[in-house]
């Protein structure tokens, strides 16, 4: 069981009957057999992590206390006082008394007792208000798990419904800003085990002193509970988001390369962990004890070094593998396929030349762009020119291979019509060095648009195209990457032929999951073959209608490629966005033919992997390619008790081939602390990583379970985590009080945003392809990207200081933060909106758009005009900064207040109630609070 859920620990034995809660219920995502029974009327919190969580929660102590008695906490969890939030205030004055409305509602974390309390009890009245507030309106899709027990709801008092003051709830902006204020711009030294890094939104310089930078590994918590019981009790997921190829900023040192020549890396004999700072040298340096499995190994003769008086090797600081958390090894032939040094990778460009693409000018655009972009093929270090070879294929219902050998006067086209059994028609001259064959390639790219100008072929194949690329790489015996430019559902007669199966009637049924599953098994086996041959597939989709992203996208997902989608692509509007993506993708830092292995110290192990990965067994993560933007989220489970002394150690090793054709190992090491105190766990939690984990596991689960069930599970687990905290770590307080641990205080707003994502919220007007696309997108996201995706950045542009280069302070994603006289920029990593209030200052409009008034602003543009005014320059600089670190080029939409396109913009104001469903932040808090109360009662 629990083969794929979040859940690894069998819950049966843990349940304690007689607590009064539901019978043990095991709501595993991956276990559809249970799924159907979940949404019962009975309060049956299908926990994500551990079944019957109620069993773990002892009965609440009687006598709820209300406010700020922090002494108890201070003793139990020194330095980390929890934040408490009372429920929505029945008495507004309470709230206002604590929170001056204009002020940020939070005291700085540094200030003593950082307790935020939402005054008043969350009594029956509030519950009622909550229920009345959105329950009936939202209808079924938005009603949160299990509903409310009938009892309390009926206790509705006579008072009119009241809303919780939005300013009174924890603000992500404030959390981000305060972390930035506290740690931004500083040097973060990774010399201590289990220290919580700055938030992803905080810029700081990381200095590697024995633990991997949080850019490479970021954990959901930096203090693991010492026993599995404790872990189950807390239900806080123990996971790490690995982004092994993350790009460090320019002011951080790139990874050191260790070369042991023919000896290869030094590894533990038992667990095969690589030499790292966690290895303890003993017996005068002749032996070392592995930090992961405790095996005592002999130090190889070539590696021997004496120890100093502290028991450290004399060359401790000379060897990166002894002193750093992250470094690279040069791999020996033993680490290569067939013990042969790998060839440098190849890029194959595969362009769909069916009628519509020719007609729209897309093919011409791609060909033109390739001529310049090929100059920027990735290279290794100072290597010149790039070792990456390139090849070209065009296709519609048949495939055209091109021979662009440098000694040819003109390219040669070879048509392969046997799409049923694709093969590579040529060997020599297909993959060429760009510099050598430049003139032939340019000749070809000039000719391609004209060559198919009179083609009337409207259908296309897809699987044979991937197959062809893979076969070509296989024939050339090198890893590589396919760039496929595709636009239609592959309906032509060939393997992988798809039919239009988009069916809105499936929404909100048990069969909805089918829409996320591939239509045929062809694509999965194709992807498997691709991975086996180190062939990564990056897919640029230009759909004008349903193309079945769920099927087509599986190949890029499983092969470590990227999926780009430009719906209803229009040349004049969208070409810049596409070209930026293409350039970015070609130039990206990338490793090929990768195998990742995550090793852990004894007591726990990696149990589940989320992301664009392919696994043949339970431990080796295979990826045809791994680039700087791809992250793999790993979940850990306890095997045994963890020792608080030795902590929990993680080593992530990625064996890969560089763009220059070298075989290397990239090692990241991270040490976490362990504690038997739940408070320590909660203190070290990292909300952004948690959300990343929740998103990936939920998005993985939609393949197997109805979204409704998944939403319920998410809410339940949120409630469980918080309830556990409240019960075990917080000082007793009134039941009506919502108490959140400091590290998780903005978890609810993120969770609510996740719940409102179009993947988890079925709406008939969201294209199925878009949902599949976003699902896939999130599966490979790193923490920084997922943070922005689930809590978009909203910047008031009208407050921009034209003299400063700093970004303006962001505001919360809520309509109430907008003002008619303002201009706001909103970005979530995929889209960017420039929102213009109806009474935006004309000088600002003039400055940005060079038009006299708002009415003159053309909302069709996707790029701001290059106006010389400081406003314009400043705004474009800001947009550049926002765009810079993002893997996807964001499409700019200009939105005028109260005009129709505003809906898409509003949808991203995640603190508000969704236009088509999904509760507001405040409502969600109420809901979670009620869940907690349920759990605790």
């Amino acid at each position: 069981m629990s083969q794929q859920g979040y859940v690894a620990t069998p819950p049966y034995s843990q349940s304690q009957p007689g607590i009064g809660l539901s019978p043990p219920h095991h709501g595993h995502y991956g276990d559809p057999s249970h799924a159907t029974s979940l949404p019962g009327v009975m309060k049956s919190p299908g926990p994500l992590g551990v079944a019957a969580p109620g069993a773990m929660l002892p009965p609440l102590p009687p006598g709820p206390q209300q406010f700020g008695q922090n002494g108890a906490h201070a003793s139990s969890a020194p330095g980390l006082p929890p934040h408490r939030f009372a429920g929505p205030a029945p008495v507004r004055s309470v709230a206002s008394a604590y929170q001056p409305s204009a002020q940020p509602s939070y005291p700085s974390p540094m200030s003593t007792p950082p307790v935020v309390q939402l005054g008043g009890q969350l009594g029956a009245m509030q519950l009622d208000s909550h229920a009345a507030g959105y329950g009936p309106q939202m209808g079924a899709p938005a009603s949160y798990p299990g509903g409310l027990p009938a009892g309390p709801a009926r206790m509705a008092g006579p008072q009119p419904p009241k809303q919780l003051d939005p300013d009174a709830v924890p603000s992500p902006i404030q959390v981000i800003e305060s972390d930035r204020a506290a740690r931004g711009g500083q040097v973060y030294v990774t010399n201590t085990r289990g220290q919580v890094p700055p938030l992803v939104t905080t810029d700081c310089v990381v200095q590697d002193q024995g633990h991997a930078s949080p850019r490479y590994i970021r954990c959901t918590t930096y203090c693991f509970p010492s026993s599995s019981d404790l872990a189950k009790q807390a239900q806080v997921p123990l996971a790490a988001v690995l982004q092994p190829f993350a790009t460090p900023p320019a002011d951080e040192t790139p990874l050191y390369l260790v070369n042991h020549g023919e000896n290869g890396p030094v590894r533990c004999n038992r667990c095969k962990a690589y030499m790292c700072p966690f290895m303890q040298f003993i017996e005068g340096g002749r032996r070392y004890q592995c930090g992961f499995c405790n095996c005592v190994n002999d130090v190889p003769a070539f590696y021997f070094q004496h120890l100093d008086h502290l028991g450290r090797r004399l060359d401790h600081y000379e060897k990166p593998e002894l002193s750093l958390g992250s470094y690279e090894y040069v791999a020996t032939l033993d680490y290569c396929r067939r013990s042969k040094p790998p060839s440098p990778p190849a890029f194959i460009f595969m362009i769909n030349v069916s009628y519509s693409n020719i007609k729209s000018g897309l093919v011409k655009l791609i060909c033109e762009e390739l001529k310049t972009v090929l100059e920027w093929l990735p290279r290794e270090g100072q290597e010149e020119p790039s070792a990456v070879r390139v090849g070209f294929i065009t296709y519609h219902t048949v495939l055209h291979f091109f021979n662009v050998k440098s000694n040819l006067a003109q390219p040669q086209m070879m048509v392969v019509t046997d799409v049923g059994e694709v093969f590579v028609p040529l060997l020599d001259g297909f993959l060429v060095n760009y510099q050598e064959s430049q003139s032939v390639i340019h000749n070809l790219l000039d000719q391609i648009p004209g060559m198919f100008a009179d083609s009337s072929e409207s259908e296309a194949v897809f699987a044979p195209v991937v197959q062809a690329g893979m076969e070509a790489l296989k024939a050339a015996d090198c890893p590589g990457k396919l760039f496929i430019f595709h636009s239609s559902l592959p309906t032509a007669e060939a393997p992988g032929k798809l039919k239009n199966r988009d069916d809105k009637r499936l929404l909100n049924t048990d069969k909805e999951k089918v829409l996320f599953q591939p239509q045929t098994s062809v694509y999965e086996s194709l992807a498997k073959d691709c991975v086996a041959h180190g062939c990564s597939v990056t897919l640029f989709l230009f759909p004008s209608q349903y193309v079945d992203v769920a099927s087509l996208g599986l190949v890029p997902l499983l092969t470590g490629g990227t999926l780009y989608k430009y719906s209803n692509f229009q040349m004049h509007v969208d070409s810049q966005q596409f070209l930026r993506d293409l350039r970015g993708d070609i130039e990206k830092k990338i490793g090929f033919d990768a195998i990742m292995r995550v090793r852990t110290s004894t007591g726990f192990r990696a149990t589940d992997f989320f992301g664009g990965v392919f696994m043949n067994n339970t431990t080796d993560v295979e990826m045809a390619a791994l680039d700087c933007d791809k992250a793999v989220t790993v979940e850990f489970k306890h095997d045994d008790r963890l020792s608080e002394d030795s902590g929990a150690l993680i080593q992530c090793a990625v064996l890969y081939t560089t763009v220059g054709g070298q075989r290397r190992l990239r090692i990241h090491n991270l040490g976490l602390s362990c504690s038997s105190q739940l408070a320590d766990l909660y203190k070290s939690c990292e909300t952004d990583a948690l959300v990343n984990f929740f998103a990936k596991s939920a998005f993985k689960a939609v393949l197997h379970q109805p979204v409704k069930v998944i939403r319920e599970i998410l809410v339940n687990q949120t409630a469980h985590m918080l309830a556990c905290y409240r019960k075990n770590c917080a000082s007793p307080s009134a039941a009506s009080q919502l108490i959140l641990p400091d590290s998780m205080k903005i978890l609810p707003v993120y969770m609510n945003s996740l719940l409102k994502s179009c993947v988890l919220l079925s709406r008939p007007d969201t294209p199925t392809d878009e949902r599949a696309f976003q699902r896939q997108l999130v599966m490979t996201m790193g923490v920084a990207d997922s943070q922005l995706f689930f809590y978009p950045q909203l910047l008031p542009i009208h407050t921009l200081d034209v003299k400063s280069t700093a970004l303006p302070a962001a505001v919360r994603c809520s309509e109430s933060r907008l003002s008619e006289g303002g201009v706001f920029l909103l970005a979530n990593g995929l889209n960017m909106f420039l929102w213009l209030g109806v009474s935006s200052p004309p000088e600002l409009i003039q400055g940005i758009f060079n038009v006299p008034s708002l009415a003159h602003v053309n909302t069709d543009m996707t790029q701001l005009p290059a106006v010389g005014s400081p406003h314009s320059q400043q705004l474009r600089t800001v947009m550049g900064i926002i765009q810079r670190k993002r893997p996807y080029s964001m499409k700019l939409t200009i939105v005028k207040q109260r005009e129709q396109p505003e809906a898409a913009f509003r949808q991203l104001l995640v603190e508000d109630r969704g236009l088509h469903g999904g509760s507001s932040y405040v409502d969600f808090l109420c809901c979670v609070h009620k869940e907690i109360c349920q759990l605790l009662s």
Partner: protein, 767 residues
């Protein structure tokens, strides 16, 4: 008419026909007792510079089952404007155009000298000739270069409107599109996958079944040429393109590891070529020209695997049933050949390699379609280059010596029936009253298709006399046969050549001498040899030899003059005297003996034997030997070891080889360089004379023979020694005296021994 020899020669020149018997036995029983069947060698398109074609259509007999063509043998009633068919005796009205005929104003087809006449048909669209090159790229660099040059050269020889196409193959098969500008485009096929014609046409985009239906009618005619023209283009349009394309052809780029043969997809390449023409130009004259430098090693039609350590099948393997790919491959090529023949196209095979190339399996492609088969060691030899050039040689009218898509129809008098044909043809399975139930060769039909033929293509056609034994000599005393050959002339005209011949009937019992005197032993030898070779394709070698021997003995018994049990008394008349000698050499020829020949060589020899005319065939059976000496002018000498003398130069022509052999003394003189000394200029002339004569033969011969210059004791002298009658061997050397020739180290029987045995058997009453 002076002698039969002259008669025969005159007939051959006029009609291209040689009969084994020029007076026919009038009854079935007697005819079978003649041993050699009534048969003829027909050269349908024998070059007739003196015969201008007539520009109208033939007049046919109106009886639907007959449809014989009006000919000089028909009785004509000029007054009533009627003519009587001489085959079915139907009386026919002349067509209106013939209203003006009279005894003095006869149309050509009624004049006796026009027993062979050619009509030009003006009807029907003319389509250009099509040449589809199918080129192997798994060649050595210099071989490929030579082949490319030959192909480029051939482009200049083609008529400007001829359509050409190019398919190259190695591990993959590439069909080149010739109409594209700026970029060369080809369709590529996997060499291992057998494709149906339909699939090939789909994949090449040749079949657009839905399009013409939907489109308006007028668009339809334009559609078709457009589709097909992508791969087959008029040479004048793409001359430069194709020249460049051929120039850029590279060796097959796929690596061939040590100990492997290159992967060569000949089977699929041919299949695609056939499918391409089938889909675009069915029933239009087209040549598929396959150039291959090795055996097919993969896919359908593979002859040998790619492991070099496993050699290609030998006769030994075949006898042991150890040739594992042979049957399947043969089946593949037979299927292709039959399809090609059905479409009226022909396949040439130009195989140049030192080892075998699978001609055994592929032979049906040429044999059934009338294509050429050329075997050489390398494309970089004059043998190939000149042979290939000769394909495009032109006749006295400036037309190619090739014709396409011919059907040969044979009509006979009632007393005769058609037993079959042997030659480069396939049966059209047209049954009729004049078709015999006894088959000799390809029988059971009165019509054959000959997809490619040239002025020397010759078929053996076998007849059966069906007149009953006691029936009188048929009315008129003469039997008639009409050969109607419809074909596409190389000028793309449709033409019909009609040859009508008649021979006297004779009662074999009373007029045996007549019949005997009218025996054409040369034709008979070739016709019998063709039967023998035809049998050898399906039967074991020894069985065929036994059959030939038995026939020979029976013939001698029938026509020899002897006293019973007295071999000494045995005599044969002049008209039979050479026949046993032909048979002797035939028994030793590579057509029936496979020893020392590879299966490919046997196939190659048999291929040519089954299509060459009588003169050439006789040379093949019994090579010609000329002797040059100071004693007099060059003279033909016996093909006998006794002719090998030290002071002679010998020139042997076996059709496939031209051997110049210097006797021992001559060779020594040559080594001493006497020829360079002015005082021995006559020696220089003597050396030169055979060379000049050889050149003359080389000029005319197709395919180019292998030219061998050797001397006494040279290794290549084996070509001569294996052919001559071993009258002196190591067994009887001293009995014959040392000075009179060269002994041959063989256990083969000599002609003398053979004749002695023959006589003994002929006179014996035992058999």
């Amino acid at each position: 008419m002076a002698t039969y020899l002259e008669f025969i020669q005159q007939n051959e020149e006029r009609d291209g026909v040689r009969f084994s018997w020029n007076v026919w036995p009038s009854s079935r029983l007697e005819a079978t007792r003649m041993v050699v069947p009534l048969a003829c060698l027909l050269t349908p398109l024998k070059e007739r510079p003196d015969l201008p074609p007539v520009q109208y259509e033939p007049v046919l007999c109106s009886r639907p089952t007959c449809k014989a063509v009006l000919n000089p043998l028909c009785q004509v009633d000029y007054r009533a404007k009627l003519w009587a068919c001489n085959f079915c005796f139907q009386r026919n009205q002349f067509p209106p155009a013939y209203a003006g005929i009279s005894e003095v104003n006869q149309p050509a087809e009624l004049m006796p000298q026009f027993s062979t006449i050619e009509y030009v048909i003006q009807r029907g669209a003319q389509s250009p000739l099509i040449f589809l090159y199918v080129v192997d790229t798994c060649l050595e660099e210099d071989d490929l270069q030579a082949l490319k040059e030959s192909l480029q050269m051939s482009l200049s020889l083609l008529p400007p409107d001829a359509l050409v196409g190019l398919i190259t193959f190695g591990r993959m098969v590439q069909v080149h599109e010739l109409s594209c500008e700026g970029i060369s485009k080809s369709y590529v096929f996997r060499g291992t996958k057998d494709l149906t014609a339909k699939q090939i046409q789909d994949m090449l985009g040749l079949s657009k079944p839905a399009m013409p239906v939907q489109q308006a009618r007028p668009a339809q005619p334009q559609e078709h040429p457009f589709v097909s023209s992508r791969f087959l283009q008029p040479i004048q349009k793409i001359d430069m393109n194709l020249t460049d394309l051929l120039g850029e052809l590279q060796r097959d780029p796929w690596p061939v590891t040590q100990g492997k043969r290159p992967l060569r997809s000949t089977g699929v390449a041919l299949s695609i070529a056939v499918g391409l023409l089938e889909g675009t130009f069915p029933n239009t004259g087209a040549r598929i020209m396959l150039f291959t430098g090795g055996p097919p090693t993969q896919g359908p039609g593979m002859v040998v695997g790619d492991e070099l350590k496993i050699p290609i099948r030998s006769w030994h393997d075949i006898e042991k049933d150890n040739a594992r790919f042979m049957k399947k491959a043969t089946k593949h090529y037979e299927m292709l050949a039959n399809r090609t023949a059905a479409n009226g196209h022909c396949i040439d095979i130009y195989a140049c390699a030192l080892d075998q190339t699978g001609l055994l399996e592929m032979k049906c492609c040429t044999n059934l379609t009338g294509g050429h088969m050329v075997m050489g060691d390398s494309f970089n030899t004059s043998l190939f280059k000149q042979t290939f050039q000769r394909i495009f040689s032109k006749d006295f009218n400036g037309d190619f010596r090739m014709a396409f898509g011919a059907t040969l129809e044979v009509k006979t008098s009632r007393e005769l029936k058609i037993a079959g044909a042997i030659g480069p043809c396939v049966s059209l399975n047209v049954k009729g009253p004049c078709v015999s139930e006894n088959e000799l060769g390809v029988g059971g039909t009165s019509q054959w298709k000959i997809c490619g033929l040239d002025p020397t293509s010759t078929l053996g056609i076998y007849f059966e006399v069906v007149n009953q034994h006691n029936a009188p000599i048929p009315q008129g005393g003469r039997g008639a046969i009409q050969f109607v050959t419809q074909y596409q002339h190389s000028s793309t005209q449709k033409r019909i050549r009609v040859t009508t011949i008649a021979r006297n009937w004779a009662d074999a019992q009373s007029q045996l001498r007549h019949i005997e005197a009218a025996f054409d032993q040369e034709a008979a030898a070739v016709l019998m040899a063709r039967l023998g070779v035809f049998r050898a394709e399906s039967e074991e070698g020894p069985d065929v030899l036994r059959w030939l021997d038995r026939q020979l003995i029976r013939l001698c018994q029938k026509f020899g003059q002897y006293n019973k049990e007295d071999p000494i008394s045995f005599r044969l008349s002049d008209s039979f005297s050479l026949y046993p000698q032909f048979m002797f050499h035939l028994r030793r020829s590579p057509f029936l003996q496979v020893f020392n020949n590879s299966p490919d060589e046997s196939s190659y020899y048999r291929h040519h034997f089954a299509r060459q005319d009588l003169t050439q065939s006789l040379i093949m059976i019994q090579p010609i030997l000329y002797s040059y000496s100071f004693h007099g002018p060059p003279e033909p000498v016996l093909l006998d070891s006794s002719s090998i003398l030290a002071d002679r130069i010998l020139l042997m022509d076996t059709f496939f080889q031209i051997v110049i052999y210097l006797g021992e003394t001559i060779a020594q003189w040559q080594k001493a360089r006497y020829q360079d000394m002015p005082e021995y200029e006559n020696f220089k002339h003597l050396l030169q004379a055979p060379l000049d004569d050889a050149q003359e033969i080389l000029q005319a011969r197709f395919p180019m023979p292998r030219y061998i210059n050797t001397e006494h004791g040279g290794s290549q002298a084996r070509f001569l020694l294996s052919k001559v009658n071993p009258s002196q061997t190591h067994n009887n050397l001293y009995a014959w005296g040392q000075e009179t020739g060269a002994p041959i180290l063989t256990d083969d029987v000599s002609l003398q021994v053979f004749m002695d045995h023959l006589k003994k058997l002929a006179v014996s009453s035992a058999c």
